[in-house]
């Protein structure tokens, strides 16, 4: 695991300029006060994507064959990718919390608990995104994965459209409902997130075990 993590951190450093730009954009939104939430979401969601892009670097020039001859096995490889993705999301979430705190202090506002919960929600969103992306990435490879993601985004948009119209049609006060059950909602979100990550891990493991290099 240690060797895999060091390798992936070295591979992520290949993209260090992009990472710097992401943090710069995030800082701009956090400190300009235009959209602080966006600044925090932006970095928390995008950082794990850099972690997952290491799969492409592993696959470059048929590199997976050699990688699997090193002291790793398929389970360890999958575990490391989830760990790396979640670590990046947690680190980015933590950094954006600190930035959020700093920006609200600079602008004379208060860093409220609500802002902290927002960052937790962004982390949960990132974890779900990793859980959806990684199995697709492992299953379809770097080229077909993009098509799979496009189809998935299309389905998500369509589902969102149906839900919004259903809410309107049945005149459900969704905002009010969320306000009333805020804590329960967060707990449910966390439990769902853990379940999604676990299911995704099992699926990824099966995909890797079936693969031949």
């Amino acid at each position: 695991m240690k060797g895999l993590l060091i390798k992936d951190l070295k591979l992520m450093m290949v993209q260090k300029n992009s990472i710097i730009i992401i943090f710069a954009v995030s800082l701009f939104f956090l400190f300009s006060g235009t959209n602080t939430s966006f600044g925090a979401t932006y970095v928390t969601i995008l950082m794990p994507l850099f972690a997952l892009s290491t799969v492409s670097y592993d696959e470059f020039d048929n590199g997976m064959s050699f990688l699997m001859t090193l002291p790793v096995n398929r389970s360890l490889y999958v575990q490391e990718k989830y760990l790396l993705g979640l670590m990046c999301a947690a680190l980015a979430g933590l950094i954006s919390s600190v930035f959020l705190f700093a920006s609200s202090t600079v602008r004379g506002g208060d860093f409220t608990l609500e802002m902290f919960w927002e960052c937790i929600c962004f982390f949960i969103m990132a974890a779900v995104m990793i859980s959806i992306t990684l199995p697709l990435r492992l299953k379809y490879g770097s080229e077909k994965y993009r098509i799979a993601m496009l189809i998935l985004v299309g389905i998500a948009v369509l589902a969102g459209f149906i839900v919004i119209n259903a809410v309107k049609y049945f005149r459900i006060d969704l905002s009010g409902l969320l306000r009333q059950t805020e804590q329960l909602f967060l707990v449910l979100l966390a439990v769902t997130c853990i379940a999604v990550v676990l299911i995704s891990y099992v699926v990824s493991l099966q995909i890797m075990k079936k693969k031949e290099f």
Binding site: Y57, D61, G63, S65, F66, T69
Partner: protein, 283 residues
Amino acid sequence: MTLSLEHVTKHYGTFELDCSLTLKKGQVTGLIGANGAGKSTTFKLILGLIRPDGGNIRVFGKDGGTLTPEEKEDIGVVLSDSGFSGYLKGKDLPPIMKGFYRNFDRDRYLSLCEKFNLPQEKSIKEFSTGMKAKLKVIAALSHGAKLLILDEPTAGLDVIARDELLDLLRDYMEKENGSILISSHISGDLEGLCDDLYLIDNGKIVLHEDTDVLLDDYAVLKVTAEQLKRLDGSYFMKKKKESFGYCCLTNRRQFYKENYPDLVMEKGTIDEVITLMVRGEAV
């Protein structure tokens, strides 16, 4: 026994591999054959990169597919078509290797890189073919492996670099007393290194012989059609039609030398043995 394959089978469309071989401790065994004969498939099966359809693979006495990461630390691997990600730099490898292998010898790795002029600041994808080949072998030799599995380790190297790398392998055998399974399409590499050789053709092992026996006892007789009729063909393994008559492969050079002193006879070389075993017709 360091490594053994017992009727390991794998099917790819019409191609069918059925391979049996053994590698003893302290030995260097070569696997030779034409392109597409099944060498790389055999290596991938041993390394668990692909699953066999049947048969048994034992590595260090264990089922090849069940080796733990700790056990894999004892295996050094060179694959002909795969290596470390090209996006990594030479200087990235020591910390990565240290993370993978408890016995990684950083000083030896760096001194070999220096000896073979491998740049540390360049990305591996910018390395020449020869530099990539050297890097793969150096990495495989730098963590005290008990078994080296080397698929075409000298591909793309010039004569001098090839000799230097082969010296490294000889040095490894002397000092570490490990075992090597190696494939190469350059027969000279194998002649001077291997204790025994397996010839694979169309997925089947068609010959297994000690290298010394192959080089000393095998011969190619060049005969006319008339001569062929008069010869005792009991010890012919294969024959092949040529413009002048026939080339006949035998593993009893001494017999023909003593009984037919006038025959044109060449000592067996690996290249000739491969050509006649693969292209020749049964006698």
